[in-house]
């Protein structure tokens, strides 16, 4: 039972990093990123590649962060010229291109076979979980700080009206780029966490549809609310794991249950968008007291 709780918490922590990343990009800055798997996979494959080639382990953070930053720059370049729904398409395709490269090039990280035996590096498992939870806490505080800062004000202005932000003297692209880099780094960290926990990385884990699970988690928990992002991840992972229990209990085959999970997620997404797009926890209003110093 304890093992199960530790495992669930670890998975929730991993997804929380992803939803917090998406919240920063979409919830706060209005960047419609349909390609969350790109940065996630970059992190995971940074680990996988290093292990596959038996390179020194300190290369992992360098690859993960370096590639994440590069990917963020590349992906954000079209953002300045494209309408949000078209940029969303581009990000959706972009994540798939990365996956295709990893799938087809066998000498990067094993191609379709993937990389096995990735060392966990932090044992025992509860300690690993604690590390991830700590990372989530850090991410939470960082994004909260951003939300309240002048930087946060500007990215939210960009979200509301890019033209307004520009006519107020801001280089909109520069802000979008910085947000993308931060978001990419967060997601890449989640990817590294994934690789060393599951100890196996293959292209199947990064199918394009997975990005929409993260979207569902964020929209459910509350777009624009960092705590909501974590909440959404927790709720949907719990549903996910419950459906697996139902599978074991009723003896239904794994992929039927997997599909039921997708149906549930899809229904949630539809219902949320139609009836409660702001999710469970609405965006927090920053209230200032008249002539007081605290926020």
């Amino acid at each position: 039972m304890l093992n199960f709780l530790v495992h669930t918490t670890t998975i929730i922590a991993m997804f929380s990093l992803l939803t917090i990343s998406l919240n920063l990009q979409y919830g706060l800055t209005g960047l419609v990123n349909f390609g969350m798997m790109l940065f996630f996979a970059i992190g995971a494959y940074a680990s996988a590649t290093v292990i596959f080639h038996s390179w020194p382990l300190w290369l992992i953070p360098i690859f993960a962060l370096g590639a994440a930053v590069v990917a963020a720059v590349v992906v954000s370049l079209p953002a300045r010229r494209l309408k949000p729904d078209y940029w969303a398409l581009v990000t959706f395709g972009g994540q798939e291109v990365f996956r295709l490269v990893m799938l087809n090039e066998n000498n990067i990280a094993g191609g379709s076979i993937g990389t096995r035996a990735i060392p966990t590096l932090i044992t025992p498992t509860p300690l690993y979980m604690a590390t991830l939870v700590a990372l989530v806490a850090i991410a939470y505080f960082v994004v909260q700080r951003i939300h309240r800062s002048a930087f946060g004000r500007i990215i939210r202005t960009v979200r509301e009206d890019e033209v307004l932000a520009a006519t107020l003297g801001r280089n909109v692209y520069s802000f979008q780029l910085r947000v993308m880099i931060l978001g990419a780094v967060l997601a890449a960290i989640a990817g590294v966490g994934y690789a060393h926990y599951i100890t196996f990385v293959s292209p199947e884990a990064f199918m394009p549809v997975e990005t929409f699970f993260i979207w569902t988690m964020l929209i459910l928990g509350g777009t624009g609310n960092t705590l909501g992002a974590i909440l959404g991840a927790a709720i949907l992972q719990t549903i996910s794991i419950s459906t697996r229990f139902i599978a074991n209990y009723t003896g239904l085959p794994g992929d039927i249950v997997g599909n039921f999970r997708i149906i549930v997620f899809g229904l949630l997404l539809i219902l949320l968008v139609m009836f409660r797009p702001q999710g469970i926890l609405p965006e927090r209003k920053l209230v200032y007291e008249y002539h007081a110093q605290d926020k």
Partner: protein
């Protein structure tokens, strides 16, 4: 002095601006009037970088103004408002004001992670200025409301406030009093006169001829993408070309 020279702008074959020139001096309010579709807002959009001009030159205080991007223009101190006010609706009224002034040190990411007291001091000062502005606009009671809950007139007032927060050299206002109730109109006009007294440059697009006559030293009249007349308000009122352009359009006031 804000000098606009021979600005041409076409959209898909339609020439919206046919070579428009306009001068606006510090310490004056210059009016820009004309029938709907004459190109007034397009002129604003072009000189603030929202649209790219086909040709033309803009200079501010004798140095050329780079109008390729809105943020270039704004950073030279040229701030504008929009006919339909642009605001961050899902931010509070106070936050909108706080977001307005440029180059806050809190906008640099590294200041987030290094506890610098200068950022805190700047924020405190900014807050004070914003509260004062709210007071001035008589919007203090709405400070912590989402901007999206404000009425149209209040939104106009708020956008003017935001424009003023950045202490601009040039204020370009697109219909600042249209649709605003009478008491607020008086406040807005008072504000403009205060800014004028600070020797700033103000250009106002308006339909309300009486307002224009009251506060503008110089008026430019546009019709179909060209300036058809300019001069002091009394002269404009008598101008035959202007009357012809407005035939069919009831002049208010």
């Amino acid at each position: 002095m804000l000098k606009i020279n021979d600005v041409v702008k076409t959209f898909d074959g339609f020439t919206a601006l046919k070579g428009v020139s306009l001068d606006a001096r510090p310490g004056t309010i210059t009016g820009l009037i004309g029938p709907n579709g004459s190109g007034k807002t397009t002129l604003f959009n072009v000189i603030t970088g929202v649209y790219a001009m086909d040709s033309g030159r803009v200079s501010l205080f004798d140095s050329p103004l780079d109008t390729r991007r809105p943020d270039f223009v704004a950073r030279r101190g040229v701030v504008r408002t929009f006919q339909i006010p642009r605001l961050a609706l899902r931010m509070t009224v106070l936050e909108n004001l706080l977001a307005a002034p440029n180059d806050q040190s809190g906008e640099r990411l590294r200041t987030l992670f290094s506890p610098g007291s200068s950022v805190a001091a700047e924020e405190a000062l900014l807050l004070e200025t914003a509260w004062k502005m709210l007071d001035f606009l008589d919007l203090t009671h709405l400070a912590n409301d989402w901007a999206g809950t404000l009425s149209g007139g209040q939104l106009k007032l708020l956008s003017i406030g935001m424009a003023l927060m950045s202490e601009p050299e040039v204020l370009l206002l697109d219909e600042p009093v249209a649709g605003v109730n009478v008491a607020l109109v008086a406040r807005i006009l008072d504000t403009l006169e205060t800014v004028r007294a600070q020797q700033k440059i103000i250009v106002v697009i308006e339909h309300n001829i009486r307002v224009i006559s009251d506060i503008c030293e110089e008026v430019y009249v546009m019709d179909e993408g060209e300036i058809i007349a300019h001069g002091p308000p009394q002269v404009i009122r008598e101008d035959q070309n202007v009357r012809r352009a407005y035939l069919g359009v009831k002049a208010e006031g």
